[in-house]
């Protein structure tokens, strides 16, 4: 699984952190997404897909 993010699109909703906090974090100053793990382990697959699905700005892409 490979995760990519688009920080320009991000609107800092924080949904991805709530869905998969081991994979996503936020910059302190403006809450923009930070990718902690671009190749998360398979057991986080559901959480990561959930994070991508709830992102209101379509800023997260997941390739299986």
């Amino acid at each position: 699984m490979k995760v990519t993010i688009d920080q320009d699109k991000c609107v800092s909703a924080g949904s991805c952190v709530m869905a998969a906090m081991d994979v996503f974090d936020q910059r302190d100053e403006d809450g923009v997404v930070v990718l902690l793990d671009p190749t998360p382990p398979a057991d986080l697959s559901d959480d990561v897909h959930q994070a991508a699905a709830v992102c209101p700005a379509l800023a997260i892409t997941v390739e299986d």
């Binding site: 800092s12 909703a13 910059r27 403006d30």
Partner: protein
């Protein structure tokens, strides 16, 4: 096709206070994208399906700026929202993103987690006062309104002692029946108030959001008017919405005792978070209609929305879409409701959603545990629901314990 276009009406049925308006439900059953007739005779598009809701709100070819011709849902609405909050909520990107990012730092998941313990203390002390006071009591006045007001006051750096002033003006802003004049005056009153506070923070900064905005003004990143507009938005959106959700959510839980028990007896943060999201979905207090206008021709749900045409996007029917939420009309705190759109969708999705979620995750369980015999002290029919609000809720909730 000469089917008459149904009038836009979000008023919920008295017998089903938790469900979307009957006419809106009927229309959503027939088509995910249709037309609606507004008070002024205009017939913008009405988007009621879940997939279509998300698709149109994440389309960069729609605008939220009133000057581009977004629909006016009420006579009093013309330009009035911009008086109340001349901020990023009525701007398109890139200006929207520039301003929004000046506010988002205060609502990161980490920052909000740091507010959990203080919020818990606020909740406990309000509950102490509630139990020490008269029984029955109005849960809105005694609990639902003060808790988020105290939290947002602390976060923003607004003296809670002024709560009657800012709550009264916020109520006018979100009332659908307010005239443009009334809403403008309320917005001006809040803006004048926030401007005064901002002046104080410029002179003597503290550790709060208004001081952070003041620092941006000093740094030349934000005009004073932009900072004030943002403060107004945070203040009214930060307490009215959550207050309505606490009160209406509690009422829904009282109507579903087996669901309330689940929330009361669980100490698993995931279960509690899931329950809160389901309450957000089921109740969809943000039923005021999201207004957009197409800037280009857009294909949506088998229809073609032409450039220049208005669009009204409906959260409450998207949240009852059976293709996403099986058996959508039942409140089921165990379901996965995270795909709900109560906070909207797209670039304008609620900036304070993590704060709202945290407050609700703390408020419901604390209330249910502290007052295990909590019950409504009035007939359901006698409870005054906010049928006139952009944000739904109850004006009063008499309870006993």
């Amino acid at each position: 096709m000469t089917t008459p276009i149904a009038a836009y009406d979000i008023a919920r049925s008295p017998g089903c206070p938790f469900d979307p308006a009957p006419a809106m439900r009927e229309q959503s059953r027939q088509a995910a994208v249709s037309r609606t007739r507004l008070w002024d005779g205009s017939t913008p598009w009405l988007v009621t399906g879940h997939a279509e809701h998300r698709q149109i709100l994440s389309d960069q070819r729609v605008s939220i700026q009133p000057a581009n011709g977004t629909p006016r849902l009420n006579p009093g609405e013309a330009q009035s929202t911009s008086h109340a909050a001349p901020s990023f909520i009525l701007l398109d990107d890139p200006e929207h993103a520039r301003l929004r990012r000046m506010a988002t730092g205060a609502f990161t998941v980490k920052r909000v987690e740091a507010l959990r313990a203080p919020t818990r203390r606020i909740i406990e002390s309000r509950l102490d006062e509630l139990v020490a006071g008269p029984n029955p009591a109005d849960l809105v006045e005694a609990f639902a309104l003060p808790v988020p007001s105290l939290v947002i006051s602390e976060l923003l750096g607004v003296p809670y002692g002024d709560h009657e002033f800012f709550q009264a003006n916020s109520r006018i802003i979100i009332n659908r029946n307010s005239t443009g004049e009334q809403r403008g005056a309320a917005g001006q009153a809040l803006a004048g108030y926030l401007d005064g506070l901002l002046g104080q923070k410029l002179a003597a900064p503290a550790d709060d959001m208004l001081s952070a905005l003041a620092a941006r003004v000093t740094a030349g990143e934000l005009t004073r008017a932009e900072a004030v507009g943002m403060g107004v938005l945070m203040l009214f959106a930060g307490h009215e919405t959550t207050a309505n959700m606490i009160a209406l959510g509690t009422l829904a839980l009282l109507e579903h005792p087996e669901q309330a028990a689940l929330l009361r007896d669980s100490d698993d943060p995931k279960v509690i978070a899931g329950a809160v999201d389901e309450l957000l979905r089921y109740l969809t207090i943000t039923h005021g209609g999201l207004r957009r206008v197409a800037l280009a021709d857009i294909e949506l749900g088998g229809e073609t929305i032409r450039a220049g045409e208005g669009i009204v996007v409906v959260n409450e029917t998207a949240n009852r879409d059976p293709s996403v939420f099986p058996d959508p009309d039942s409140l089921d705190l165990r379901r996965d409701a995270r795909a709900h759109v109560t906070f909207g969708y797209g670039i304008h999705q609620c900036v304070g959603q993590s704060l709202a979620r945290m407050e609700l995750q703390e408020a419901y369980p604390a209330l249910l545990r502290r007052l295990p015999t909590l019950a409504r002290a009035a007939d359901l029919d006698d409870i005054p629901f906010k049928h006139d609000g952009f944000i739904y809720g109850v004006y009063r909730l008499p309870v006993t314990w």
